[in-house]
Structure formats: C-alpha cells, structure tokens
C-alpha cells in the first residue's frame, strides 16, 4: 500500500519539477532518464540505487545533527521504503540517533555531474544488513571506486568513505524530496506529503 502511494504521488507530484530539471539539462536521473523512456518513479528509484555518493544525517535529542555515509541504497518497491546501507561501526554517532521514529535526511549525488536529490523521512527500522544487502554494498564499493578513480579521486582518499563494516540497513518512508543540484534551484522541494 505504501509502495502504491509512493508511486502514485511520484507520478502526480514529481513530474513538473523533474520535467523542469530535464528541460534545464540538469536531470537527476540516469541515462535512461535522460532518454525519457522510463517511468518517473522508476527513474527516481533507480537514481537512489545507481552509482551515487550517499551522505546522511540524523539528529540527537538536543537537535544536533550527526553525519554518516551510505554504502549503497535502494528503493524497496514492496514496502515503499528507501533502504540506506551504512556502516554502524564507522558512524557510531549517526547510528546512535538512527532509531525507529527518528527523522533522517539522505542526499544522493551523481559524482560526475553533481546532480543531487535529498530525501527526508522518518526511520521505520534499523537492522543488521542481510547477506544480500552486504553483497549489494560490496558491489557498490566495487563500482564506485573505478568511477571515482575516473574522476581523479583515488582509493586512499576514499578509504574511509566507503565502509561496509557492521553494515546496517536503515529503512525510512520518503516523505520529502528536494533538488540539490548546485544552482539557484538547490533546495527546491519536489514534493511534500502532508
């Protein structure tokens, strides 16, 4: 049900903002998105799970923000959740605040173009990653390293950026989506669910 709701809202509410982005040649999606052949919701979902850098923030009781980095992410169609994979041991302060019901913000950035979206929501669940998710994280690292190398960022520089030790999966329902590609429209909401 959540999945249907997400997709429906994506279809209805995302399109104008995304089309505007496309028309400004600052599309957030992948090649297939640029080609305009994929469904919108698929494009957003595929962007989250594509070769993007992932940064995330939670906050504590005093509203101080805590930063973590993602090691892969995907949209769970069935549950309607965004699933963020991250190292609990590498980012202990971030994970201390990553509890059910807590707010979370995650930004996905395509490194070659700086195209970025930020997704915000409320955490549904934080659990140790499954073996399938650990494999996904390993694949993510394998894919990101050469991609970043091609952009001149070496393995040493990324040595603690991509961490999959004590990998955990943070599930949250995406309540807000924002364009974050640098430029005048950065921070512009793509939609708001009331």
């Amino acid at each position: 049900m959540l999945a249907k709701s997400f997709q429906r809202i994506l279809r209805i509410s995302y399109r104008p903002a995304l089309q505007r982005l496309l028309s400004e040649k600052r599309a957030i999606g992948t090649e297939s998105l640029d080609g305009g052949t994929m469904e919108l919701e698929d494009s957003v979902a595929s962007f989250l799970s594509s070769k993007v850098m992932i940064i995330a923030a939670t906050r504590d009781q005093t509203l101080k923000a805590h930063i973590g980095r993602g090691c892969g992410a995907f949209f769970d169609n069935d549950a309607g959740d965004v699933v963020l994979l991250s190292s609990a041991s590498q980012w202990p302060e971030f994970f201390a605040c990553a509890v059910k019901g807590a707010p979370i913000a995650v930004t996905f950035v395509e490194p070659s173009s700086y195209k970025a979206i930020q997704v915000k929501g409320q955490i549904n669940q934080v659990v140790p990653a499954t073996s399938e998710q650990r494999e996904r994280a390993a694949r993510y690292i394998e894919q990101m390293l050469p991609l970043m190398a091609g952009l001149g960022v070496n393995r040493l520089q990324l040595s603690t950026v991509f961490a999959d030790d004590a990998l955990a999966a943070i599930r949250f329902w995406p309540a807000d989506l924002f364009v974050q590609t640098p430029g005048p429209s950065a921070g512009e909401p793509m939609r708001r669910i009331g």
Binding site: I55, A56, A57, T58, R59, L63, K64, A65, H66, I67, R69, S87, S89, Q90, W91, E93, P103, I104, A105, V106, T107, V109, A116, Q118, K120, I141, L145, L151, G152, V153, R155, L156, Q157, L158, S159, T160, V161, F162, A163, D164, D165, A166, F178, Q180, P182, G183, P184, A186, G187
Partner: protein, 446 residues
C-alpha cells in the same frame, strides 16, 4: 572544546574532497549537503562558503549550529567538527581569498557562469573528532618524521637574492632557486604591462619553450586572477577540476598570431603569487607541478616571502637604473645594414604592436622600444642606445621611470632571442643596448 587541533587538519581544508555539512530545522528534521569550501581561519575557527545551500543557511540562522565532516585528501582520514555560527562576511581578506579560489576553480570546470560568492560564514569549532577508520580500504603511508625547514630555506634564498645586482639575474636565479631549494620544476615570472591589463612572461623554467612575451589577461585563470585581486592563489589538487588542462594555457589561449604560453601536460597543483612592492603590482610568480599537493600551506608562506623579495628587488634595480648616470655612448654605426635578406617590420601605434613580416613579435612598451631602435637605425645607422636616453625620449610615450623600463628591455631582448632574428638586442654593459639586425628592414606604420 577542540579535541584534535585544527592545525593538524590543514590538508582537510584544501577543497580536494568535498566536505559535508548537516543541520537541523526547528522541527527537528535534519538536512545534509555537500559543501564546496571550508577553510581554516585559526585554531578555533573555520570559514564556509555560503553559496547554494539555502536550507542549511535557514537552519543555521535558527539554531546557530552545524555539523561538518571533512576529509584529508592525502590520507583519506575524516574528522567531525561541531560548529557554532559566529558571523557572515561579504568582504575582507578571507572573503576575497575564497572568492578568488572559487573563480579559478569555476574557470577550470568551465563553469564561469556559476553564481558568484555572496558571503562567507565564520564558525567557531566547538569540537573536532577523528572518525576512526574501522576497516579502511587503504592505509596512508607514514608521514616523514622530519618535515622540511621551509623558513630556513626561504631565509637562505633571500640571502642569495640580497647578493644579486641586476634584474635579469634576479629573474632567472629566483626560478633556479625555487627548483634547488623547494623542488619546483616548472615556474615562471610574468610582468604587468603598462596599462595594467595584461601580464607578459619574462622568465620561465622547466617548460618545452620559454614563451617570452606570452600574455595572460588580468582576471583570466589562476595567474590573471592572482594579479587582478592581488592575492596568492593555490590549487592543491586540480583533479577536482576534472579537466587536465593548464590554467595558464586556458587563460592565455592565444589567437594564432600571438605567443604560446609555456605549459606542462597535466598540471595537478598550481600556485600564483602577486609580486607587489611599494604598493604596486609588478607581476606574478607562478609555479606548477604534475604532482598533487605539491604546494602546501607552508610552501605558500615561504613563496610569499620570496615573492615579496623578488618584487622589492625588481623595484630597487629599476630605481637604481633610473637614477644612475651611465653615460650615453657615442652612437655606433653598423655596416651590416645592407647585408642579408630584407624584411618588413610593421608597427601598430595604437598598442605598440610589432610584427616582422606577418609574425607577431611583441606589443606595448617593448614594441614601442623595438620600433624606436629600428627607426633610429634606419635614419642614422645607430646601433647603440642607452637606458638613459630612452627615459628622456618623450616620443616613446613611455610611462614614468617606475614602469620597469629595465625589465621591459629584458623581456624584449629575450623575446627577440627566442624568436631567432632577424632583429636582436644585446646588453654590452649596464644601461646600454646594442641592436643587431640581419638584413634590410622596411618600416611600415599601420
């Protein structure tokens, strides 16, 4: 409280790896984004560029707090900084430095239409903690136990400068000493032209050709921006610019008839330092390397000492030359006037431009000087001239003596030498110029 001293994190503030900033809105929703520029201010402050992140700005305005993660581009180590907002600045040295750096990087990335920097924000660093690597993909090699004594090297270099007695030696030896003392393999000195709109290469070292006379416009690339803003600009790692081009080549991309700027293939780090003495910009000292991180903060400080010495030296030599009473030589005649193949020397009075046949030679004051020498030669057969008479000759439209006649003569002589004839200049002794011409020149005033 700062746990890790910010001084040990200087390499994390190079803009090599983007930093991350997180804030929280009054309702408790976090916000996270990348940040283009974080710079060290002092042991308890950093400055952030405030360009695009309006939500971050709104949250900081409401809460006064932000959390930052920075990465050391040399080691891959990350640190978390808890920040408290102190103030915004729209002018001043820190603002100008960040603005100039962003403009150079925007030019490199072909994004010169990026929004200009509006303000920078100063934050107090409440705490700085290392993100301990739990399973690093790679470990950085151990840093050398003994670091270079750059202050000592700068002192030794300036002592050598003090022994020099003429501008030409200073120009060449300073680049030579940059290599010997600091390992700088590619460097050049460019001089400001008389209108303050361009810089011309007068000395270079470590390039396939010297490129004497090659020009960069003020405001173009790292050299032009360093000149225009009178600020040192250092790019530690050009890979982030994604385009392996020389900033100088980019800036000085010459029309066909102009002189090619000396370049190296894949510069990874560059530094440009304004040469300022008596409040006047004389030019720019530029250095580059094929290695990333070739120039550190400490190198920058050492080079700034040298740049000040070079600028002061040039000014002193110029003053000494202008006030000297080297006697005018009796004009010598040259019997070779009719020898060799003839050529056409075209002069453009509006900018002092000189072409030999169809090839661009030089413009500005050096161009006017060249025209003057050749014209006098054709009229009287003279080949000997003196700095003194040039300074007196109002027809040359020379600016006042302070405008570096001596260095412009050096530039002209070198340009003609690199060009390889048919006109050359020699300096038989201090304050004297000897014209060497092969063939019969025909003057054309355009």
């Amino acid at each position: 409280m700062t746990n890790v001293p910010l001084e040990t994190l200087r390499d994390s503030f190079e803009g090599i790896m983007p930093s991350v900033i997180a804030t929280t809105d009054p309702a408790g929703m976090p916000n996270i984004s990348y940040l283009s520029h974080v710079q060290y201010v002092d042991s308890s402050h950093v400055v952030l560029s405030n360009q695009f992140f309006s939500k971050t700005a709104a949250n900081v305005k409401a809460s006064g707090r932000a959390t930052l993660v920075v990465i050391d581009g040399r080691t891959g180590l990350q640190h978390v900084l808890d920040l408290t907002f102190e103030r915004s600045m729209r002018e001043g040295e820190i603002f100008e430095r960040i603005s100039a750096h962003l403009d150079v990087m925007a030019g490199l990335q072909g994004k010169s239409d990026m929004l200009k920097l509006k303000a920078v924000d100063i934050y107090k660093v409440e705490s700085c903690r290392c993100v301990e690597p739990v399973a690093p993909l790679q470990t950085a090699p151990q840093a050398p136990a003994v670091s270079r004594n750059l202050l000592g090297e700068a002192a030794a270099t300036t002592r050598l400068f003090s022994e020099m007695t003429d501008a030409e030696t200073l120009l060449d030896r300073s680049l030579e000493l940059l290599e010997q003392k600091f390992g700088v393999l590619h460097s050049m000195i460019l001089l400001t032209n008389e209108t303050g709109s361009k810089l011309s290469t007068v000395a270079s070292r470590g390039y396939p050709h010297f490129g004497f006379g090659a020009e960069v416009a003020f405001g173009d690339g790292i050299v032009g921006i360093a000149a225009q803003r009178r600020l040192t600009i250092r790019i530690a790692d050009m890979r982030r610019g994604q385009r392996y081009v020389s900033a100088v080549a980019e800036a000085g991309r010459p029309p066909q008839e102009e002189i090619a700027m000396p370049v190296i293939d894949q510069p990874q780090s560059q530094i440009a330092l304004p040469l300022i003495a008596n409040g006047r910009l004389a030019g720019v000292l530029f250095a580059e390397s094929t290695e990333s991180f070739a120039f550190s903060h400490d190198d920058e400080a050492a080079f700034e000492i040298l740049a000040a010495q070079i600028a002061a030296g040039l000014a002193i030599f110029e003053l000494a030359d202008a006030s000297s009473d080297y006697s005018d030589q009796h004009p010598a005649l040259d019997g070779s006037i009719h020898q060799g193949k003839g050529f056409r020397l075209r002069f453009f009075p509006h900018d002092g431009g000189v072409f030999i046949d169809n090839d661009y030679v030089i413009r500005g004051v050096p161009g006017r000087l060249l025209f003057h020498f050749v014209q006098a030669y054709l009229q009287t057969g003279r080949t000997e001239f003196s700095n003194r008479e040039i300074r007196r000759d109002r027809s040359l439209n020379l600016p006042e003596f302070k405008d570096n006649l001596e260095t412009r003569l050096i530039l002209l002589r070198r340009r003609l030498e690199e060009r390889g004839g048919p006109v050359r200049l020699e300096r038989p002794e201090r304050g004297q110029i000897r014209l060497r011409i092969e063939g019969m020149p025909r003057l054309v005033i355009e």
